[in-house]
Each structure stands twice: as structure tokens, then as C-alpha cells.
């Protein structure tokens, strides 16, 4: 048995070694807000926070999470960034959006008033194929409005 802390809840799991955090979140806990788009850590869609640090859950083995607290998009539903993204139209198909918001939440937690350059640097690991980047930048610039 293995204990995993997600969004303030504790889950007891019986999963084989080698399972990814993304797989457990989506398939065992039903937290499908975390998306998997490449499955090998290249696109950022699966980003979750582990003790506040953006982490690629598709290449994070669940047994390496240990005591640390996992925060997924489900734990950020009331974060002002969600509305900021909607207001700015910072999503099209929306498949990368939960990962974008999770990454952005870590950015604004560390730096509540990021500049455009800081946003472009910090968010460069989250690919959006629809090309909503200008609106993502706007959403993060205006997240507290």
C-alpha cells in the first residue's frame, strides 16, 4: 500500500512500481483534468505541482512522490487564473490549458506581477498547438483583475 496526497486529500493506493503520477491521477483517482499529450515530458500538458513546484506528471513515477503534496488543476479550480484565462480567451481546444494554468499558478505564486519577458521565459515549457500564447500572456498579466 502506498499513500499519495493530492489536493489536500490522502489516498491509499495499491499500484505497481513503474506507474506514472499522471497515470495514477487519471486512471486510479479519476482526476482527468491533468492531460497527457506526449507522454514523455516534452509538452507540459501534464503539469502538476509537487509541493508547489511544477512537475511533469507523465514522467514522474508515482512512488517517487513520497510525502509531498500534489496539486492538480482540480485543486486550483477557484484560482483566479482560471477566470483570467477564460476572460482573455487564453484557450481554444483547451487540452493544454489545465497544464498552462498549473504552470502559471507556480509563476504567480513566486512572482505576483511578472513581466511579459518573465512570462515568456517561465511558460515556454507548455506547448499550445492552437497558438493561444498572446492571450495566455495577457491572462497572466491580468490575473488579479
Amino acid at each position: 500500500m502506498y499513500e499519495l496526497r493530492v489536493n489536500g486529500e490522502s489516498y491509499r493506493l495499491d499500484v505497481p512500481v513503474g506507474r506514472t503520477l499522471a497515470g495514477v491521477l487519471r486512471d486510479d483517482l479519476g482526476l482527468t483534468g491533468t492531460k497527457v499529450a506526449c507522454g514523455e515530458g516534452h509538452c507540459g500538458a501534464c503539469t502538476v505541482l509537487v509541493d508547489g513546484v511544477p512537475t511533469l506528471s507523465c514522467i514522474k513515477l508515482v512512488h517517487t512522490v513520497g510525502e509531498h503534496e500534489v496539486t492538480t488543476i482540480e485543486g486550483l479550480r477557484d484560482h483566479p487564473l482560471v477566470d483570467a484565462f477564460v476572460r482573455a480567451d487564453a484557450l481554444q481546444c483547451g487540452y493544454c490549458t489545465p497544464g498552462q494554468i498549473v504552470s502559471a499558478s507556480a509563476l504567480v505564486a513566486a512572482n505576483p506581477t511578472p513581466t511579459s519577458d518573465e512570462i515568456r521565459h517561465q511558460m515556454a515549457g507548455n506547448i499550445c498547438r492552437c497558438g493561444t500564447y498572446p492571450k495566455i500572456e495577457e491572462a497572466i498579466l491580468t490575473w488579479r483583475d
Binding site: C38, E40, E74, V82, P98, I101, P134
Partner: protein, 753 residues
Amino acid sequence: MARLIRTEKEVEGRYEEQWVVVDEDVLDQWPTGPREVVGRPAPRVDGRLRASGQARYTADVRLPGMLHAAVLRSPHARARVTRLDLEPARRATGVRGVLGPDDLNGLTREPSYRGAGIAAVAADSLAEARAALDVIEIEWEVLEPLLDADEAVARGSLLAEPTNYERGDLDQGLAQADVVVEAEYRTQTVLHNSMEPHQSVCQWEGDTLTIYTSTQWIWGVRADVAAALGLPEDKVRVVCEFMGGGFGSKNGPGDFTYIAAELARLTGRPVRCALTRREENLDAGNRNATIQRLVAGARSDGTLTALGGEFVASLGWDGWLASTAGPMQMLYACDNVRTVEYGAKLNTPPMKAFRAPGFVEGTFGLECLLDGLAAKLDLDPLELRRRNHADADLVDGRPFSSKNLAECYRRAEKHWARRHEVRARSEGSWKRGVGLASQTWYGGGGPPSYAWVRVGGDGRASVVTAMQDIGTGTRTAMAQIAAEELGLPLERVTVALGDSARGPYASVSAGSSTTPSMGPAVRSAAADAAEQILELAAERFHVERRVLSLRDGHIVSSDGGSWPIEEITGLLEEGQIQGRGNRGPNPAGMRVLTFGVQVAEVAVDVETGEVRVERVAAIHDVGRVINPLGASSQVEGGIIQAIGHTLSEERLLDPATGDVLNQTLDAYRMPTIADVPEIVSELVDIPDEHLTNLGSKGLGEPPIIPTAAAIANAIRDATGADVRSLPLSREEMLRALREAEQRRREPVGATTA
């Protein structure tokens, strides 16, 4: 009044004549300009669901007892299976079903491209399915692949007969020209890489097959699967409520759907078959590479006398020949045009439509060539385009239903005027310049398409139609149209879509056709419901129907009376007002097209060949704009995808084996937020007075079309170098700079553009 008409249906530039039953469109268009809801910026009605991870995509569907499929794919571009033993896979842990080449059409013993499916396994978990693939015993005879497009044309390996087009006489046109330019352009293979991989979950319930699938066309999947499986169409139910991008690659069911359906039938369990990212970049389609050998001639005043081109498209093992010659035939008023197009059949993964297929590639060649011509003529590139403006369609002689390209040019002037100031900002090895390119495309949509609108006692409305929202924001646009017609605030309208069993037929979300096809049907259904409400109100309030209208949630009388809409709809108790709407016909005898122009600003490091796009201004004419906010997102997204295929994206093949070398997203370089320039987008927003009850055309594709040429032309402006091969890598940039340097040294005898 329904009637049967013979009409043209156009998708992605392919026209088909067909009979359709249409209802006459009796509604007048709304006046030009923003209305109460339509024409005003609206955040997506489903934005919160998507952003907060609550929207359920196909990838999120979890059915009880669901199995997971994995597909064994050919490691060779061309080979023959000499021995295949599936038994070890059948015995592997967790395996519930195995399919081989004898079991399904999409699986083969003689793969003709890297990634073709050979066998498939369904198991309790994806890990077990993949492990079972590893124990399949297979031996190969590897065969020589055909990978070169020119060689394929020479050997007659073509997917279709060459397409010939001619008007006037090209040779005569060249003889009349004072200036002639010739050049060869090349564009690369580009991968769609939708964020949600292609996938289906198939489940049999009795003799009905339910398919949850990530698709751009619910009804196309239904029809194709029903035909392939010999089922009546209403025994196939297709569901797609949310989907994670397609860009043309998800217009049909795909082999993964057939694999899931057959494994589900075999095992009696629901089965998911999802492509991995690597499979996505092998067998989910691509924008095919092209070779374009072009010539243009003009008189000294800039009048085009001749345009000619030979186009070779590397289609791969399967696919269709999208028109790369289309822009050359359609964009300018030139009397003498001759084009020939070849679709090479190669041992490479099949192409699929990718956002304005053919026109993206063809516009790159044509619009670069035109700037070469402008340089030789010593004529302003914008002026050259104005002088050759096509006032009517020269391909079939029809008038345009509307065309505001001249207005686009006028609005582009202020961006074009920046070139003197931009060039002056060149510094050291960094040279700056400005370029522009024009664009035309289809985007008129067409019938049939249907919608229902129901209004409940609480005065809220639902639009019901079995369409899909692929991320373009059509759900929101449809809600806006219904809200406008019903005089309701947007938050009182919901849209139910995404299920072929629970709504009427709707059009494909491809070819920039969703809004122009579906929007008029939704408006017509809302108007039908509104009319019923007003008739009831007239009766109830003892006033004439003609003095009543719906506004802001109220029934409003021209003499000043005003009643909340619930005062009428509330009388229904559990009852509902039902509105029904159809997409009317396209204007007879007219050509419906979209137009635009983009102005790009670049900086080029002439020492390293690095190219940076600093600003793109886009002005497009797509008729009435329903949602200016969503529309600006479409424009930005198109330009950003275009910047990827202009500068960094290229699927690389091993030239000896035909293996795909960059299947992963670290190796296949798509733009990130750090690569995005300033983007200024402007829409002309003049309704097409001849097109439907809305006057709206599609916007999904036009913005991706002219960007590459505008960037290349800006590079020429900055450096004098002609880049002619996409992507504009440093290698290509440095080659072009060396060539320009050589030309400066020996100015006589230069033959290229």
C-alpha cells in the same frame, strides 16, 4: 418551403456537386455592425469547463470494463512480413483480444510506409497491451522504398491523374512580358500534432456501436464506419463533446477506430485505441511537402501577363491532391495561366488535410515570386498587387459574392508604411525589413445543416445540434447567434452538441465552414422559436404581432409595452417552444471566397542566419464577425502555426530507409510562447450580403495562408536574399545570403527571382 436543389458543396477546396433539400432562407440579414450579442466579444461559454479540467474529452472517457489497445507498426517504409506468429501475444498477461492482418482491412502484411499497422492487441491495461506487442514473433523482407517525389513522377507513381489547368496562352503571355521571373520553391512536410492524440473508445450495446472519438466530423465518422461495417447508419452513434484539436487531421474515422470497434466486438468489452505521440507523428497525417517550379511575366507597368507553375506534391502512400496551384489560378487578374499538378505516391506516411491544404504551400511560392517580380520592375509590392486585383473570379467567370481585398490593402497601408522606420532600426549584423503577402481561400460553407432551438418556461433557450466544437469556439458563436435572435442575454442560452443520436445533422468542422454552415441554421431555428413566442404574446396581450419584438429577455411592443419573456413561456409550464432551422442554399452563380493580407516584420542576423519574426499585422475579410474575441484568437493561432512551419517545423525522413527521425516533441520543433511576435489582427467585418441570413464566412484557415510568404518577403526586404525553401533554417538563410552576394558581384545573367 423545402425544395430540392443541385448545389456545389466545397470542403478544403474540393468541390462536389450534390442534390440537397433546402428550406428557403426567409430571414433578412442583420444590419452591419455589432448587435446586442453578435459582433461583441464573448468569452467562451465552455471556457471554464475546459480551463478547469472538467470538460470530458475522448481521452477522459472511462467506461466500466474498458480495455486498452496497442498497435504493432511497421518499422520499415516498405517491407513484406515473411513470418508472423501472434500466439505469444494471445497468451500474454492481461490480453483479451488480438487482431492480425487477416482480421482487419487496416492491418497489413505488406506495409508501404513507416508506421503502417500490422497487428493490434487489447488488454486490461495499456502497459500489458504494449508488452504483448513485444512478444509477437515477426520476420521481414525489407524492400527498397520510393522516397523521392521527382523520381515518383518520372516513374509514374502517382495517386491521381495530373491536374491540368489553363486559361489564355502562357507562352503568349510570356512573350508579351517586359520582365520575367522564374524560381523553384520547396515546402516541407509538417505534422499536425493536435494536443489530444487521435483516439476512439468503441462499445457495442446489442447491435449498436457507440464511438467516443476525437473528431472534426461526427457525421462523417458515422457514415464511414456504418458503410465499412455494413451497419445501418442509425446503429452507429458517434459522440464528441470536447475535442483537443484536429487542424484537418481528424475529418474521418481513422484505422484506430476500426481497430477499437473490432476488438470491442471480439472481446465484448469497450475498447480504447489511442495513438501515442510517436504514432501521432507517423500515422495521423501530415501537410505534404511540395516542389513548385514557377514563372511569372509582367509588363513594365506591373500588369501580369503570365503565371505558370509545375507543382509536385509528396502525398505519401495515400491521400488526395490539395490544390497547390489554386492561389496562382485565383489570386490575381492574369489572362494567361497554366498549371500542372502531380501527386506523388511514395513510401511515406499518408498526408491529410492540414489547415488550408495546398494554399499555404502555393501562396508561399506565388507571393515570393511576386515580390521577385516587383523588385525587377522596381515597383512597390503592395502597388503591384493592387494593379492586378481580380474583380471577378477568373477560373469560372463568376462574380464574387463579396470581396473586400482592396479594403484589406487600404487598412494594411499603415503597417506597410512602417518599413522605412523598421529598416532604419537595422544594427550591426542584424538587418530588419518588412514584407507582405495576399491570400485567398474558400470558407463559404454550405447546406445541409440543421439545428433545433428549445425555449423553456423559464425563458432559457437551448440550441441542439449534433455538431462538434474542435476548439474554434463554435459553441460560443452558436450561443451568440441564438441569443441575438431570441433577444436573450448570452448566459440564458446553452448549446448541446457532440452526439449523433441526440441532435440533427451538422456539417464538418473543416474548410473554414463551421460558422457559415451552422450559424445560419441556428439563426433560422432561433427565429422559428422567436416567431412562436411573439405569436403567443400577440394573442395573450391583444396586440398585433407586427409591433412585437424580443429584446434583452423581454417581449417589447413598439408602443412602449414590455413584458419579461417568461410571462409567455411560463404559460407552457413543462412545455417547450420548439424551433427548427436549416442552412439555406449558397448564392447561385456566385463564387464565395475569403481574402486577406498580412504584413510581417523580421530581423535577420546575416552572420548566423538566425531569423526572428518581430511583428505580424493581419487584415482579413471573412464577412460578418460573430465573436471578435474568438476571431482574434483564430487569427493569432493561424499566424503562430504558420511561424512554426516557416521557421522551425519539419518532419525529417531518413533518405535511405524512409524512417521518420523526429517523432517526439523535443525533436519536432513547434513554437512556444517565447517564439511569438507582436500580432495585430483586424477583420474588415462587412457582411457578405449574398451569403445566407448571416453574411459570415469562415476564419479558421485564412490567417495561416500568407504568413510564410510575408516573412520571406520581409527577409528579402531586410537582406536582399531570396529564401525559397521551407523551413527557413539557418542553412537556407545563409545559402540565400551567399546567392544574393554572388548576384551583387555578377549582376548580369541572374535568372532566379
